[in-house]
Symmetry: C2
Subunit: 663 residues, 2 copies
C-alpha cells in the first residue's frame, strides 16, 4: 500500500494511479442497481460524514448515475436478516473525473464508502481522493466486538457511537453481553422480575433493543445477544431465587459475593429458560444466540446434595458432565426457537451437535481442538481490551497462528474470525470509548486484512490518524482526556498533570485493586488518574523509539539525543510543578510517588547522556543504585505504571555495561 494512505484496515488489493479526484461542494452521488434500505440510509449518512469531516456541507444525491461523481452499484439487496458469510467484497475505482463503487451486496457498498471517507484528504487543490483501484474483501467473516453492559451499564447513545466506530473499521458483529451476575439488562415482558429486580433500573426496553438492532443492521453489523447460564447468573436469580442452586435471597448489582449457578437438575429451570430464550429469540433476529457457559463455579453445585445426587443417579462423573447435560438440553431449546447456539470454551463437549459455535477465551489451542472435532469457532483470547495491553500486542495475535496454523483447510475454515472483548468492570460511559479506541481499530485490521499485513510501525502510523478521525463520529476517547484531567486538578491549568498522565498507563492484566467504599455504594467512582490515563501512552511509545534509535546508532544520533534530553529535562522538572496540585486534590494524592520517581529516573537518564557525551563511563555502584530506582518505578502504584521507565532502564543498562554481562 502506498505509505501516504491512511487506510485501516488495509484493503486486500490496491492498484495506485496518478492524479486525484477533487471533492468539492458540488460532489454528487448516485445509487444504481438493486434497492436496499441500508443504502437509502447509508448514502446520506456517508454524505453527512463527509460534510462533518471536511466542514464542507455536501448533500447532492442525484438520480442520473451517468453524471454523478461517485456511482454506487450494488448487484443485489442482500438478506433480510444479515447472515454470517454474506458477500462483503467491493471494488472502488477512482479516476481523476469520477469514482465507481461496485459491490455484490449493500454490505460491500457500505464498506467501500468507509474506505472512500478514509481516502479524503485536504490537498493544495482542495479536498481530494487519489486515483486508484481497490479490490477488497475480508479475511474473516466474523469480526466482532463484545461489550459487557452488566458490570457497568452502558447507555444506548454510547453503544450507538461505538457501532459507528465499528462500521468505520468494517467490523460486523456486536456481541452484546446482556446478562451476568451484576445485571440483567433487557426488559422481559414474560419474566418481568428479570429486569425488574435484576438490573437496578438500568436496562434497555424492548423498543430500544429493536431500535438498536435496526441501527446496527443499517451499518452492516449483526447483533448477537449473550445471556449467561448456568454460571454468571446472579441477576437472574435475584428475581427467581427458586432457580438457584442455593437458597436466596440474592442481592442485585455489583457486590462482593460468592458465585451463583442455576440448578440445572430441576425441570422448572428448563421451562423458565424456554420462556426466556423464546422471548429473547424473538427480539434479536440474528441466527446466533450466545448462552455464555463459562466459569461455572463448583461451589454452588457441590454444596447442594440434591444436585450431587442427580449427578450420581445419572451416571455422570462430575460437574463438567452436568454442564454438558445442561448444554445439550439448552441447545435443543435454542434450536427450537430457530437459533444456533454459541458459548465459551467450556461448552465444548462431543455430545453437542456440530452446529454449535465455540468462542475461545483460552486461545488458538482450544480453537484448533474444536475445529478438529468439527466445531466452528472464534478467537477472543488475545483481544481482551480490558487487559490494557498495547495495541501491537493485540495486533500480533492471529486467529490462525499456533495450533490453528497447521490445520488442514477443511478444519481451518471452521475458524470464523474473532471478537475483541470489552469487559466493563472498570469502565463507565465516560471512559469506555478510551478503552475500546483506538486499539480496536488494529484488531479490526487483523480480522479484515490479509494475514501478511502485520508491520506494527505502519499500523501505528495509520492508527494515530484513524484515532482522531473517529472523533467525528462522536467517540470520546480523545476528547474526554483533558476534561478528566481538569476534574482531577480541579482547575484549568493541567500542564504539569498532563506531562505525568502522558507518561503513565493503567496497570495491565487483572491487577487493578478495587476498593469497595464503606459504607457500600452502588457505583464506585472511576475518576482517578488510572481512569484518565490512556491504555497505551503515545509519548512512551515514541520515547522508546527514540531510545532505540539512539542506542542502535552507538550514541551517535544527535537528533535523537536532543529529543531524549528534552523529554528527560521536562520530566525531571515536572514534579516540582506538579507537587502543589498533588497535595491539593485528594484524587491525586496517591500519584505522588509516581511523579517523584519519574523525576528521579529522568535525572538518572540525564546523567547517562552527560556521561556518554563526555565519554566517561558511569561507575558500577551508580548503576546498581539506579537499578533499584528503576525496579521500584516499574511496579504498579495507584493502579498505574510509569511507562517510560523501561526505556530509561534500557538507556542506563546500555550506557553503563556492568562487568557480569549476560552471555
Amino acid at each position: 500500500m502506498p505509505s501516504t494512505l491512511t487506510l485501516m484496515p488495509v484493503p486486500a488489493k490496491i492498484q495506485p494511479g496518478a492524479g486525484q479526484l477533487v471533492i468539492d461542494q458540488l460532489f454528487t452521488v448516485s445509487v444504481a442497481g438493486a434497492k436496499d434500505s441500508r443504502l437509502d440510509s447509508g448514502v446520506p449518512r456517508f454524505l453527512d460524514q463527509l460534510s462533518r469531516q471536511t466542514g464542507m456541507p455536501v448533500n447532492n444525491l442525484m438520480a442520473d448515475s451517468a453524471k454523478a461523481a461517485l456511482v454506487i452499484h450494488v448487484a443485489s439487496g442482500g438478506r433480510k436478516v444479515q447472515e454470517l458469510g454474506e458477500d462483503e467484497s467491493y471494488t472502488l475505482e477512482v479516476t481523476s473525473s469520477r469514482a465507481t463503487l461496485t459491490a455484490a451486496t449493500p454490505l460491500g457498498a457500505l464498506h467501500g464508502l468507509q474506505t472512500f471517507l478514509q481516502l479524503v484528504e485536504p490537498t493544495p487543490a482542495g479536498f481530494a481522493v487519489p486515483v486508484l483501484t481497490i479490490r477488497d474483501e475480508p479475511r474473516f467473516a466474523w469480526r466482532g466486538l463484545l461489550i459487557d453492559v452488566c458490570r457497568h451499564f452502558i447507555p444506548l447513545d454510547v453503544m450507538k457511537r461505538n457501532l459507528d466506530g465499528m462500521a468505520a473499521l468494517k467490523l460486523n458483529v456486536l456481541h452484546w453481553h446482556l446478562s451476568d451476575d451484576e445485571g440483567f439488562r433487557v426488559e422481559s415482558k414474560k419474566l418481568p422480575k428479570l429486569h425488574g429486580l435484576g438490573s437496578e433500573g438500568q436496562y434497555y426496553t424492548q423498543a430500544e433493543i429493536r431500535e438498536f438492532v435496526a441501527y446496527a443492521r443499517d451499518r452492516g453489523i449483526r447483533v448477537v445477544p449473550e445471556f449467561e447460564m448456568p454460571g454468571h447468573s446472579r441477576s437472574i436469580v435475584v428475581g427467581y431465587p427458586e432457580l438457584a442452586s442455593q437458597p436466596g435471597p440474592y442481592p442485585a448489582g455489583r457486590v462482593a459475593r460468592d458465585a451463583t449457578a442455576l440448578d440445572v437438575t430441576q425441570e422448572k429451570t428448563y421451562k423458565f429458560l424456554d420462556q426466556l430464550i423464546g422471548e429473547m429469540a424473538g427480539l434479536f433476529p440474528d441466527a446466533y444466540f450466545h448462552i455464555g457457559g463459562d466459569e461455572v463455579d463448583d461451589k454452588p453445585w457441590n454444596s447442594n446434595p440434591k444436585i450431587q445426587e442427580f449427578i450420581r443417579m445419572h451416571g455422570m462423573k462430575d460437574n463438567r458432565d452436568l454442564q454438558a447435560y445442561f448444554n445439550q438440553r439448552l441447545e435443543k431449546i435454542v434450536g427450537k426457537h430457530g437459533k444456533i447456539m454459541m458459548g465459551w470454551d467450556e461448552i465444548l463437549h462431543p455430545d453437542l451437535p456440530k452446529t454449535v459455535v465455540v468462542q475461545s477465551w483460552r486461545g488458538q489451542e482450544s480453537l484448533a481442538a474444536a475445529a478438529k472435532q468439527g466445531y466452528r469457532g472464534l478467537l477472543s483470547n488475545g483481544y481482551y481490551l480490558d487487559l490494557m495491553w498495547p495495541t501491537a500486542r493485540h495486533y500480533d495475535v492471529d486467529p490462525m497462528s499456533g495450533a490453528a496454523a497447521t490445520l488442514p483447510p477443511e478444519e481451518a475454515k471452521r475458524i470464523l474470525g474473532g471478537e475483541a472483548c470489552m469487559w466493563s468492570e472498570y469502565v463507565t460511559p465516560e471512559t469506555i470509548d478510551s478503552r475500546i479506541w483506538p486499539r480496536l481499530a488494529a484488531i479490526a485490521e487483523r480480522f479484515w486484512s490479509p494475514q501478511d499485513v502485520k508491520d506494527p510501525k505502519s499500523m501505528y502510523q495509520r492508527l494515530d490518524e484513524v484515532s482522531w478521525r473517529l472523533g467525528w463520529l462522536g467517540l470520546t476517547h480523545e476528547s474526554n482526556y483533558v476534561p478528566m484531567l481538569r476534574r482531577l486538578a480541579g482547575g484549568e491549568d493541567i500542564r504539569a498533570l498532563r506531562v505525568l498522565a502522558d507518561a503513565v498507563e493503567p496497570t495491565k492484566d487483572y491487577t487493578r485493586s478495587e476498593v469497595f467504599p464503606q459504607p457500600p455504594v452502588k457505583r464506585v467512582p472511576m475518576n482517578l488518574l488510572a481512569d484518565a490515563a490512556r491504555p497505551e501512552s503515545t509519548v512512551a511509545r515514541r520515547f522508546d523509539e527514540l531510545i532505540g534509535n539512539y542506542i542502535e546508532s552507538g550514541y551517535k544520533d544527535s537528533a535523537a539525543e536532543a529529543q531524549i534530553r528534552a523529554w528527560l529535562v521536562k520530566w525531571q522538572g515536572n514534579h516540582a510543578n506538579l507537587k502543589p496540585l498533588l497535595e491539593r486534590s485528594f484524587l491525586l494524592t496517591e500519584d505522588q510517588p509516581l511523579s517523584e520517581d519519574l523525576a528521579t529516573l529522568s535525572a538518572a537518564g540525564l546523567q547517562v547522556l552527560d556521561a556518554v557525551g563526555k565519554n566517561q563511563p558511569l561507575p558500577e555502584a551508580w548503576r546498581v543504585e539506579q537499578m533499584a530506582i528503576v525496579e521500584r518505578s516499574m511496579k504498579p502504584r495507584a493502579n498505574l505504571l510509569i511507562m517510560v521507565a523501561p526505556s530509561i532502564q534500557r538507556l542506563i543498562e546500555a550506557a553503563s555495561p556492568h562487568p557480569t554481562n549476560h552471555p
Copy 2:
C-alpha cells in the same frame, strides 16, 4: 469575594467562614416547602451534574429534610408561566455539617444550586464546599441571549446545550430570532408556506418548539420569540409574495439580494399577520413578543408608487411615519393575542403605548431616551458576540452607564437589563458554542452582579475556570478546537498549526469577507482557520500581560523576560515547522503570510530583548523598519489578526524610543 472562589456571576453578598462541607458519595439532598415541577426535575439534574463534574455517582434524594446534607426550601411554587421580575433571590448557608438553600421561588432555588455546583472543588479531604453564607439576587430582571437561527439554522440539541450554559450563568431569557430574510424557522399549521417554502427544510416543528420551551422553563429561562417585520422579511414573502412591496418571486435561503419589506399599506398584510401572530402567540407562552422592526430599507417602499401614494394620502412625512403607523396597528394585533410587543430601537415612536419594550442595538443614549419617554428597554449594544470583541470590552459595558447613568430612579428602573446577541452569519452548529462561550459568562455577570463588580483581572481568572467547567454540559467551545485544527491539517500532528492558531483571532466587527462560491451553493463552508480560532486568544492576553509587567519593571523583571523570550523563540521558529502544512492543505494556503509575519515579528522582539540585555539601544532606522512590519502584521488577512502583534509593537516602541517622542 474570597479570591479562591471561582463563582460567576459574583453573588450580591458573601460571608466567608472557616472549614468546609465534604461532599462524598453519600451526599443527600432533600426538598422541603412548596412543590414545583422545576424542582422535581431540577434537583435530579443537579445531582447528575454533580456526578458528572466529580466523576462520582451521587444520587441520594431523601424525604427526611432533617437528615439531608443539602436541604432546599422554597416558599412558593412560582407562576405558571415564568414572569419578568419574579423573585430570583436565594440564600445559601453552608456549615461544616450541612447546607441550606432557601428561596422565595423555584427560580431562586435553581440559581442557588448552580452556585453550589460552582463551589464544589477537590480538596485534600475529598470534594468539598467551603463554609460560607451567600445572599444573592440579580441586579437586572432581564438577562438574555439572542440566538439567530435564520442565517444559519441551529439544531435543537445545540440550542439545548446552550440553555444549559445559560442556566449555569443565571441568565433567564432566550431571545429566539426565528425569522429573517434567510429563513422562517417555525412550522406554521395555518400558513404552511412560511416554513414550507421559507426555510429550505430547516425549521422546528411545533412539537419541538413546545419541548424546547418546557426545557427552558425547567431551567428558569423564558423564551421570547422574534418574528421580523416589516423588514428582514424575505423568508415570509418567499411563500407569500403578495405581501411584499415589490413583485416576486423571492428566493429562499442565504443569497445576495436586495432588502425586502412587507407592503404595510394593504389590509391583507394585517389579516395575514393576525393569523401568524395568533398562531405563534399560542405556541410561545411568554408575555413578550418581539416583532423585530429594525433596519427597514427605504428602497422597496420608495420604489412602489402605491406605497408612496399611501404615505401622502395619510399625511405622513416619510417611510418612518409609515413604519410607525404599521407598528401601531401591529401592537394592537399583538395585544389582542395577549402579548406585550417588543422591538428594536426603530420602533420607538410617541404614538405607541408605554407597555412596549424597546431593545437597543444603538446604545445607552437610545435606551435613556426611551426611558425618559416612559418606555422600558434593554441594552444589546456592546453585547454583540459576532463582533468578536475581547471579553473585557463586553464586560466593561454597563446598561446604566452613559446617558442612562443620570436617569432619575423612576426612569432608571425602566431599564430592565440586557441581552447578548449571537447573530449567525458566520457560525455553524460546530462553531456557535465557541462564539458564545466563554465570553457570554462575563456578560451574564454584568447583568447579575452588583455594578461595582468590574475588575477584569478577577473576571478573567474566574472565566478561565468557568470555561472548562461549561464543557460538562456538552458545550463544545473547548472540545471542537483541536478537531477543527486537525481537519485543517488533514493530520494528527497539529503542534505547529496550534502555535499559530493560539496567537491569532478572527477579525473584529463586520469585516469578514465572504466569498460566495461559483457556482452558488446553499451553505458556505465554515472550515477555515478563522472559524477554528477563538474570538479571544488566551495566549495573546497572557503574553500582553507579560509584556506589560516587563516594561513596567523597567526591563528588570527577569522572570517575565524569560517567558517572553520563550514565546518569541517558539513563534520565530514556528513558520519553518508549519510551512509544509500550509503548502499541503488548500484550507491553510491563505494563512502563510500570517505565519511568516509572526516569525518576523518575533525575531524583532528577540532583538529588542537582546539589545536591552546588552544595554545597547537599537538604531532609529531599525525601529522604522520594524514598524513597517508591525503595521503590515496588524492588518486583517485571511479574516484573521495576529493578536500578539500589538504586544510586540509595545515592546519595540518601549525599548527603542525614537527621537520625536510624543509629549
